[in-house]
């Protein structure tokens, strides 16, 4: 009599359709390309780079007014460039920056406010830094035009632009800072450095305990340690799972069903588990795309799988 490891198979509840819709949301690149940033973004940082300094400063003055785009256009005499190409990225796995772009665009959708400082979400630490510099610049410019704040605006916007736009444009608009070489090589080198630094910052935020550390080498050390610890955890977890009663680790769908709710929170609630004796399993089984492979009465040697496996074994032995 063998009663081990049979757990209640609750429904995965139309999981297939839910999966489909969720998977669609994973195709972030497509979604964002369709997002057209509103023209109020003309006052935004990316457009700032196109303008000569005095006009840029005037533009900053108008950041608080909702009709900034028209005013800005009047001031500068140019129409704001189409920004939808700047706000979205083609590098598909650059989910970080796509995230930021999405948040950027949604914020502007909601508030219609160009300054973007108040509208940035507080939980996004990546954005608070540019937000703070922007608000401080706005204050500075209102109090009086100063070259320093100009340069600050340029350097931040240059950084932002180089990190978000370089993948799209054939060449990069980079403004030289005070006292720096302007030949193409060092410019390119500097742009590259900016990119690397921007991404290193994101990495620092991702890896716990990295923000306090000064210096690239130590930060890299931490990152390497973090990756290695995650890889080791995967090894440990697979060892643990393998050591557990074998019926359980390969009978995941039954465990899963009871796990379904708690998995969403990322925490495990042990009391959700129930043990069901085998003769009850058939009654509780519901639609699930693995169901046809499962034969709870006899230990599951599914003909289909066995044949497929057999084929593979022949190939393996042949090698």
């Amino acid at each position: 009599m063998d009663l081990t490891g049979e757990f209640e198979a609750r429904s995965y509840g139309g999981g297939a359709t839910r999966e489909a819709t969720r998977l669609e949301s994973l195709h972030l690149g497509d979604e964002f390309r369709q997002l057209a940033l509103p023209p109020e973004n003309a006052g935004g940082f990316t457009a700032l780079l196109e303008l000569p300094p005095t006009q840029a400063v005037n533009l900053l003055r108008f950041t608080d007014s909702p009709s900034s785009s028209s005013q800005a256009a009047a001031v500068t005499g140019i129409s704001p460039p189409p920004l939808h190409s700047y706000g979205t990225l083609t590098f598909p796995s650059d989910s970080v920056l796509m995230d930021r772009a999405a948040r950027f665009s949604t914020e502007h959708h909601q508030n219609g406010n160009v300054s973007g400082t108040s509208s940035l979400p507080s939980n996004s630490s990546v954005k608070t830094e540019p937000a703070e510099t922007d608000s401080s610049q706005a204050v500075n410019n209102r109090s009086g035009k100063r070259k320093d704040s100009d340069k600050k605006a340029k350097s931040w916007t240059k950084k932002n632009k180089s990190s978000e736009e370089n993948e799209n444009l054939p060449y990069v608009h980079v403004r030289a800072r005070r006292g720096q070489a302007t030949d193409s090589h060092s410019l390119a080198e500097r742009a590259r450095r900016e990119k690397i630094n921007a991404r290193m910052k994101l990495l620092q935020e991702l890896v716990p305990g990295c923000d306090k550390i000064q210096g690239t080498a130590l930060v890299l050390d931490e990152i390497i340690n973090h990756v290695q610890s995650l890889q080791r955890q995967v090894e440990m977890l697979s060892m643990r799972l393998a050591s557990v009663n074998p019926r359980i680790d390969f009978n995941l769908d039954t465990i899963l069903a009871s796990e379904n709710g708690s998995l969403m929170d990322g925490s495990f609630n042990g009391t959700a588990m129930q043990v069901v004796w085998p003769h009850q399993v058939t009654e509780t089984e519901q639609s699930y795309h693995h169901r046809q492979l499962q034969q709870p009465q006899q230990w599951p040697f599914d003909g289909l799988n066995q044949r497929a496996w057999g084929k593979e074994e022949d190939q393996d032995h042949g090698q």
Binding site: L3, R22, A217, Q228, L241, L252, W309
Partner: protein
């Protein structure tokens, strides 16, 4: 934290991982613990990599690496077209032989002014280079990422995916271990009841 594993990512990983494990199912009773561990890990790795649908360098490299250990599993887990292109494609040759480049750079290097500051800066740069090479060794496919920007981007994505994998696996393992304890408990009770008559 700019990005956390989302629950949809976790769901998809779990589903794909399961699918991979199902492939090993007929062999369960005949395998040792280490073979089962390998099966679990390989399916988890392919599941994690397939979440990215071939858009990142590390995911492609990981799938190719797993394919050298279990070709059949990878073929089954990925849809037909993808499997062919990923597995049959030969691994790209290393872009540059670092040793050779380093040696020729040494030869070409002219004697610059050895001010103290420059020496320190040069040492710092060397250290950073060493660390980035260390990072390349850890991230799958890192040896082929000569571009530093790409390396960091890939690392970012890889860490997030690893986190997803660890979270989901930990939940399952906790469930399984708790379940087996409970089963053992119930088994004991049952046995006791039976023996009591």
């Amino acid at each position: 934290m700019h990005m956390q594993p989302t629950s949809s990512m976790k769901e998809e990983f779990l589903q794909k991982w399961q699918m991979g494990l199902q492939i090993y199912r007929p062999l369960i009773d005949n395998t040792s613990v280490s073979e089962r561990r390998k099966a679990i890990k390989l399916s988890a790795d392919v599941a994690m990599a397939s979440l990215r649908r071939g858009t990142t360098c590390w995911s492609r490299a990981l799938i190719q690496k797993t394919a050298t250990e279990d070709n059949f599993l990878v073929r089954q887990m990925l849809s037909g077209i993808k499997a062919e292109t990923l597995i049959n494609k030969k691994l790209p040759k290393v872009m540059c032989h670092r040793k050779i480049v380093r040696r020729s750079k040494k030869i070409l290097r002219r004697r610059k002014s050895r001010s103290a500051i420059e020496e320190v800066a040069a040492k710092a740069r060397k250290l950073v280079k060493k660390k980035t090479q260390g990072l390349r060794n850890v991230v799958p496919g890192g040896e082929f990422m000569s571009n530093d920007v790409l390396l960091i981007q890939e690392t970012l994505d890889y860490i997030v995916s690893l986190q997803t994998q660890v979270n989901v696996m930990r939940s399952i393992v906790d469930a399984a271990e708790a379940g087996s304890e409970r089963t053992a408990y119930y088994l004991g009770k049952l046995k006791f009841a039976i023996e009591d008559g």
